[in-house]
Symmetry: C2
Subunit: 384 residues, 2 copies
Amino acid sequence: MLPDQPFLRIPGPTPIPPSVQRAVNQPMIGHRDQETKDLLHTIKPKLKPVFGTEQDVLILAGSGTAGLETAVVNAVHPGDEVLVIVTGAFGSRFVQICQAYQIETHRFDVEWGEAVKPEAIEAYLKQHPEIKAVFATFCETSTGVLNPVKELARVVHQQTDALFIVDGVSCVGGVAVEMDDWDIDILITGSQKAMMLPAGLTFLAVSERAWEVVETNDRPSFYFDLTKYRKQLESGATPFTPALSLLFGLKQVLELFEEEGLETVFARHKLMKNMTRTAFQALDIPLLTCDEAASPTVTAIKPEDFDPEALRRVLKRDFDMTIAGGQQHLKGRIFRIGHMGYCSPADMLQTISMIEYALHKIGQPVELGCGTRAAQKTMLSGGS
Amino acid sequence: MLPDQPFLRIPGPTPIPPSVQRAVNQPMIGHRDQETKDLLHTIKPKLKPVFGTEQDVLILAGSGTAGLETAVVNAVHPGDEVLVIVTGAFGSRFVQICQAYQIETHRFDVEWGEAVKPEAIEAYLKQHPEIKAVFATFCETSTGVLNPVKELARVVHQQTDALFIVDGVSCVGGVAVEMDDWDIDILITGSQKAMMLPAGLTFLAVSERAWEVVETNDRPSFYFDLTKYRKQLESGATPFTPALSLLFGLKQVLELFEEEGLETVFARHKLMKNMTRTAFQALDIPLLTCDEAASPTVTAIKPEDFDPEALRRVLKRDFDMTIAGGQQHLKGRIFRIGHMGYCSPADMLQTISMIEYALHKIGQPVELGCGTRAAQKTMLSGGS
């Protein structure tokens, strides 16, 4: 094995582009100096199109989970009932956060690997008009499902005056999202997935409707108080010490987005999804999710006749490649390939050809090259 | 196209491993301080096995050509006649250097794409016993030929008392070489090929036989005087300002070599050669060189029914991938793929699958995936 060259194909943290790595490595500056204000003023307008919003996108030092907790703490008043749509492990996380705050939580479970049906939520909300906030996962990382958040926002707002809050951690930056047009109230993401940064930043954008709730909330947190972040950002500042090296990197990420063009970024992710799916279809290895529910950022594969962990071990041993296994009850039953952020169609050709090799190594008599060929054909046909 | 991710598959300069890049980025130190002496003392023993020699390997700041010129200037006394074996563009370079110093130069030309036959040199030297130095190219970068320097060394020393001087620029670090056992008198390489560094360093090792010639030589250069480098290196110093950042990187390269094991490094290069060759054979696209003459570090392909430049343009446009074209009379007739240094078998799977894609883009109806499959099979069979 060639040292020094790990292949990271998990659904985040993702590889860092060299120019972003260089940006992250810049010397420290004073966090209250004008340079920091300039940095935040440069970042502010460039983040908005990534979220599809005119609202300021607030930046906290913290992981994606900190962002989810921030949303809960700010959007839910004491005594409010909430609904959490659970399509996998990260839906469950919203439930756990709500429970940590003794929030009365309705839980709507969907079979892992399937997307939630908006009409089911519509029906549920009809029966529970008391619900004040609905939490959903945009891309469910544990299954590779992309939930229909646009339609969910519509039914939530038609049925109730509840806020609609979306965990976009494993897809924002890699899939088109129009927070304002779709009427999402809080959209959250993290830095370490399609945003091509190391972990350590979480981002939240908040609608006018949600701000009304947030501003009147006697929230049980000091650090997670979004009103502080909003107020400080107006003058290019942060309420607490910002993670400056990650902000240096973020500026460069946003410049890369502008250089490639966001539409092209999103099309690239769709293409990588389609290449991955057609490859495994050609190899006759079942996908966990149907085409309609599949996320452009991560694909889960559910083999019938081999152990996903054996495949992962060979990839690690022979190539220093890491793909993800399953979580919770899918542990040992699926494997997941991340194709988001700093990842190209050429990387997917490589990933697929490496997996074909590893399948042979574990004794699976797949036709060598046939998944690669399917992915090449998908590329040649423009990705559809 | 994903910005920030060029694919460099030319036969040097080659990509730099991240840990080497980090090493290169270290802060400057005083070039006469103890830290520099320590650095050179650390490097010195680790370079010897790369050259297969017990001699000190001398390091000059300069490109590979500076190294070739240094060899000529030190090894050839005024009035000496020399023989240059020319199997491609870099053999010609030795001729040009000799001519710049008005050295009487015999030129032995071999058809580009073929290796020189030792018995032909044996016959030539029988007729020209006056020759005092024989220059050969180990890997001829312009054609992907690996010349049989071990056998050449044998016939040179059997026939004459001439020095045998070898340009190893595009292979040392990627192919096994036993300078002492094979009886090579001067072996030269550069930093930017299988040595995984940026260009800027050239390395020379000199046999005892050659030192006798060098030490009595009233050479026409101040900077290229090898006796100065030998004398200074004894105390961990250099006669002129060393290129410190590249030496920081070199230390890390040598640690990577140790980590992987030199035998494994060489086996990896052989495997990449075999993967590349079997892939193009499967695609029915002719190789320039025969199996016996093929270098583990670079492969030249000579298509009959498409323009190599069209292929290169598509690879550049669609992937930001650079492969090399032909040089001199092979310009527009061949393309060359570098597979040396920081390059893995997985990179070759990717390169081949990208080329299959690009061949379709230029209208060549190759069977998609079939070159990739051939390369995968070569890997699975252990590389033979």
